[in-house]
Amino acid sequence: MEKLIGEAPRNIENTINFAYINEKILKNYDIHKIRADFPILKREVNGKPLVYFDNGATTQKPQVVIDAITNYYTNMNSNVHRGVHYLSQISTDAFEVTRRKVQAFINAKHDYEIIITKGTTDGLNLLAHCFGKAFVTAGDEILISAMEHHSNIVPWQMLCEEKGAFLKVIPMNEQGELDMDAYKQLLSAKTKLVSVTYVSNSLGTINPIAEMIRLAHERQIPVAVDAAQAIQHIPIDVQELDADFLLFSGHKVYAPTGVGVLYGKEALLNAMPPYQGGGDMIKEVTFEKTTYNELPFKFEAGTPNIEAGICLADALDYISEIGLEEIAAYEHELLAYATAALSKVPGIRFIGTAKEKSSVISFLITGTHPYDIGVILDKLGIAVRTGHHCAQPVMDQFGIPGTIRMSLAMYNTKEEVDSLVAGLIRAANMLL
């Protein structure tokens, strides 16, 4: 990074680390062109221009991805890894291109370490099931954090129940930052796996994932990283991080829904049994015994979402062309702007004020219910998420039923932030 804009004071209005913001990058970021790439951004909702701030739930799709979907069904549609015929070959090739693109995108050592899943939830269930079968027995511990999405809680609870193992939770402070001292204490000979989120979907906290992996590895404990809210905002290098597993969803990174990725280190994946039985995952089947296929197919039973799988490559190409560093810098500046702008809304209370944050601002307006705010914002054409964000334990810790969450993407603008601020003031005036 070149010239920095300056150090930010540590207070509620400015919890953003300005080290990310680079003036030169910002100057070259062509927001108008990027917005033009996303056709849905031109539409109106309830007679108002759409302001889409629910990117943490799913991102919109650029025209190149939409075109790729059409192209798949127009010119390629055929099952993968099956036929010798032409269409099956080109769709298989395209599907495997995605695997290699993902490999490059997260810098995995081998393409067969990339397991194509239905999404992060699917990947976490696969991991809990297969890792659990291979490595977890009664009395063992799985370590997660207090800010996990339900998808990184429930599969582990199910595993622990089945095996008589224990789920341990790394606590967090009032800012929504993990207690690293407690984390060190919780790592023990009984810990079989640490499974933590890179970025909190409800608070926006960026966890010190590299440090957490280093600490776990000191005790030979593998770490799974839920990167569902990180992959679209932060450049990730799994080898540099030394992550043992890393998961994300395609639809949160501008690709279609129904496709996701589970990255795992070869040795670990090989030591794990298959997840589901069926087509593609076998080498040989007789009624007496089935031998399993090798990586990655061992974990990919059944016909995948081929269209989404293929188009994930187009989405990754799209953001790679613009540059994830550039996107991260732009989003960070926008996050800083939004945090400052929102802090001027009367009665606002931020939930999650970690020093390191990414693209999510969760808040409440004193005296109002998040649902009511969400309903009125919707009437103004503004899409936010309200509720507990599938992170009820987080809401419980803050003693609230839910929050209003704005989550940014590469195509959002300061003008949209201004619309949100005006909408919130209007909603509060109606409700209070």
């Binding site: 009511d372 009437k379 507990h388």
Partner: protein, 139 residues
């Protein structure tokens, strides 16, 4: 008045509103004005959990009619809840069980009864009808 007469009355009231702002301001006002349920009834026995807002529903059957008191922690939901109570309360279980709630659609608030809204309102209407059906089956 019958359930349908009450619905028609509400549809007429809402016809006067010129835009969504006025409509919602009215609903919010209804929500604010009506302390619908006593605090000690706001327990898990009476709760209908939506994903986002909570609704409490307290039925009372007396002299052949079913009365409802209800409440919500979200003000727009509370306003909508009060509309439901106004329409359904004070009728026989048979009338309530057989009622067709068309007014929500007609006054342009259909989206609030969609399952995806998860505000507890749809579950509340179902619960009101269940109480009525159970009572109707008994008498």
């Amino acid at each position: 008045m019958s359930i349908n007469e009450l619905q028609d009355e509400l549809i007429e009231d809402f016809a006067f509103f010129e835009d969504w702002m006025q409509k919602y301001e009215y609903i919010i006002q209804l929500g604010k004005e009506l302390p619908l349920i006593e605090e000690h009834y706001k327990t898990d026995d009476y709760i209908i959990k939506g994903c986002q807002s909570k609704v409490w529903l307290q039925p009372a059957f007396e002299a052949g009619v079913l009365n409802f008191k209800a409440d919500s922690d979200a003000i727009i939901t509370k306003g909508l809840v009060s509309l439901m109570v106004r329409v359904l309360s004070g009728h026989s279980p048979k009338e309530i069980a057989e009622s067709d709630l068309y007014f929500i659609d007609k006054i342009g608030l259909k989206e609030h009864l969609s399952p995806t809204r998860a505000n507890g309102l749809l579950s509340m209407v179902k619960q009101m009808k269940l109480y009525a059906m159970a009572l109707h089956a008994r008498v």
